[in-house]
């Protein structure tokens, strides 16, 4: 199994696969389906300072090869998470990436202080890209000065490495990545959802109560691949790639684009076993292309002559 090992700041993973934030709750539900210790890690649902109920329903809508969601960061609040959710994950002994969100800088900072202090948390993921809340979220993620400022402040209080989760809804993702790199981020997570919308053609009304939502799933994979490809050539931070990954082949494609680990979101809803199934398939695929260590796949699209594959 060690051929699947990848190592990122704070995240020493026995394989590069972790569920994406918001698509796996706090792990409990999927633990009924399989042994979570098979995973490379877990990203937990966004934590805010106080508990939040989120948006009214309907909160999801289906689109071609994708879905829209507007959950609106429902969660029990950072204390509830630390007290009731995290302890439950301890026995699985896998790295936990804690996604954090807020409406104000102060809220992000407070949440980071609390959650990064938990010994069970390996790293934090700064969600500045949630399109489904009125305040905070994406407003930090589409202006790179505010993204950099927030990163710097969060980094200042965090006891664990900080991954900044980038929004794809920007004119220039590379500038954004460079800005947060300069501000001290330890890694990047990309991409969050694209802002989208679906209307009922009969009534003309939005399907989602929140009107717009975040588009995820295979539909957005080409955008994710492109952004990871562009950013990974410009910054030296490791990238947790995500966006539409549903197969082991997709994982290798995304690593070739520049990702060091890969998060799986929407695909969990399609098939609850998708993460362990992908993990099991990866060695077969590596054999097929004669690659020994999966970590060699990272950036293969552009740096294959720099870092020769083990097969050559």
């Amino acid at each position: 199994m060690s051929r699947l090992r990848v190592s990122l700041p704070g995240l020493d993973m026995k394989n590069p696969i972790l569920p994406a934030s918001g698509c796996f709750g706090f792990g409990k539900e999927y633990a009924k389906w399989y042994d979570l210790s098979l995973l490379g890690g877990i990203t937990i649902k966004a934590a805010t300072l106080e508990g939040r109920f989120g948006n009214p329903t309907p909160r999801v809508a289906e689109t071609e090869s994708g879905m829209l969601n507007a959950i609106g960061l429902q969660n029990p609040g950072v204390k509830g998470i630390i007290e009731n959710e995290l302890p439950w994950l301890e026995p699985y002994n896998i790295p936990i990436l804690a996604n954090i969100a807020g409406s104000t800088e102060e809220e992000y900072i407070e949440v980071t202080k609390h959650i990064s202090a938990s010994p069970l948390v390996s790293a934090v993921e700064l969600n500045i890209s949630c399109p489904n809340v009125k305040e905070g979220g994406i407003q930090f993620g589409t202006h790179y000065k505010s993204a950099a400022d927030l990163t710097r402040k969060v980094k200042g209080v965090s006891e664990k490495p900080v991954y900044v989760k980038l929004s794809p809804n920007v004119s220039n993702i590379t500038e954004m990545a460079e800005a947060v790199e300069d501000a001290g981020a330890d890694g990047l997570s990309m991409i969050n959802t694209l802002v989208g919308m679906k209307l009922d053609w009969r009534t003309g009304q939005p399907i989602l109560a929140n009107k717009t939502g975040g588009l995820s799933g295979p539909a957005i994979k080409p955008v994710a691949i492109r952004m990871i490809y562009e950013v990974s050539q410009k910054v030296s931070l490791p990238i947790i790639g995500m966006g539409g990954v549903s197969t082991a082949e997709d994982v290798l494609e995304m690593m070739s684009a520049g990702a060091s680990a890969v998060a799986v979101g929407t695909a969990n809803f399609v098939n609850p076993f998708i993460c362990p199934e992908i993990i099991e398939k990866l060695p077969e695929l590596l054999d097929e292309i004669g690659v020994e260590q999966i970590s060699e796949m990272t950036g293969r699209s552009f740096n294959q002559w720099k870092t020769p594959l083990s097969s050559r």
């Binding site: 329903t57 929407t266 969990n268 609850p272 076993f273």
Partner: protein, 256 residues
């Protein structure tokens, strides 16, 4: 909780756009609680990713066969309706918490109220209650004669009052209109249908105990994504998840 690959034994249109799908496979052995649902994949290669929640309508444990009744309205259910006998269907389930038939043991009567495509789970529930010696009455509401289905099957279990919006079958009106007759012996109420109907039923049934089953658009179907929440004043969290805490709740438990 399991994922099963079941084989279609029949898939036929029993009323306009209403299909009865029978599926067989060992997984059916666990499908013993009425009100639970299966989370049904539309297919492997389709562009419709999300599974469709469909209620268990009947289970034949000997034949290892589960029956689903569904309306082919959107793209996903239309694609399901085009599947042939012998093809397989990928289902998760049984999911959710179904109707408790235990708590009803001290009752003699049950009133089962269903509207439109909320009718299917009442069939399996009615059978189970009858097996326990409870006298079952159904009130089933449809749009029209054309849209009605399974009435004879229900009649085999108990008295079946039908309402249609256009009056083409049974009473003209809604299920709640059929509740105007004095309800005797404090039956337990079990009701499935659109939220507006459930709300009306709860009002009419004031003072009585019972259960309702809710619908909502789902992502995961297993409690992980928070897509299907419903507010409640009776729990500390302030909400329930319909897929995993429900879809069945006590009357009055959630805010409709």
């Amino acid at each position: 909780m399991k994922k099963h690959l079941l084989t279609i034994t029949s898939n036929t249109e029993i009323a306009r756009n209403i299909f009865e799908m029978k599926l067989t496979g060992p997984g059916t052995a666990t499908m013993t609680v009425p009100g639970q649902f299966l989370h049904v994949s539309v297919g492997n290669n389709t562009s419709k990713l999300l599974r469709r929640p469909l209620s268990i309508c009947d289970v034949d444990l000997e034949r290892e066969e589960v029956t689903l009744l569904y309306r082919a309205q959107g793209e996903g259910t239309k694609q399901l309706s085009q599947k042939h006998t012998g093809e397989t269907v990928d289902v998760l389930g049984p999911l959710g918490n179904g109707f408790s038939t235990e708590s009803s043991e001290d009752r003699k009567k049950a009133l089962l109220i269903g509207g439109g495509i909320g009718v299917p789970p009442l069939y399996y529930l009615g059978k189970k209650l009858k097996d326990k010696g409870i006298q079952v009455t159904f009130i089933l509401g449809f749009q029209s004669l054309e849209a009605s289905f399974y009435i004879e099957q229900f009649q085999e279990i108990g008295e079946t009052i039908v309402t249609t919006v256009d009056g083409s079958l049974g009473l003209k009106g809604f299920v709640t209109d059929a509740m105007d007759q004095p309800i005797s012996d404090e039956p337990l109420i079990y009701s499935v249908g659109p939220a507006v109907m459930l709300k009306a039923v709860e009002q009419k049934a004031q003072g009585l105990n019972g259960f309702i089953s809710l619908e909502e658009r789902m992502g995961c179907g297993v409690g992980a994504c928070f897509a299907c929440v419903c507010p409640t004043e009776t729990r500390q969290s302030g909400y329930v998840k319909i897929c995993s805490d429900g879809p069945v709740f006590k009357m009055g438990e959630v805010v409709l």
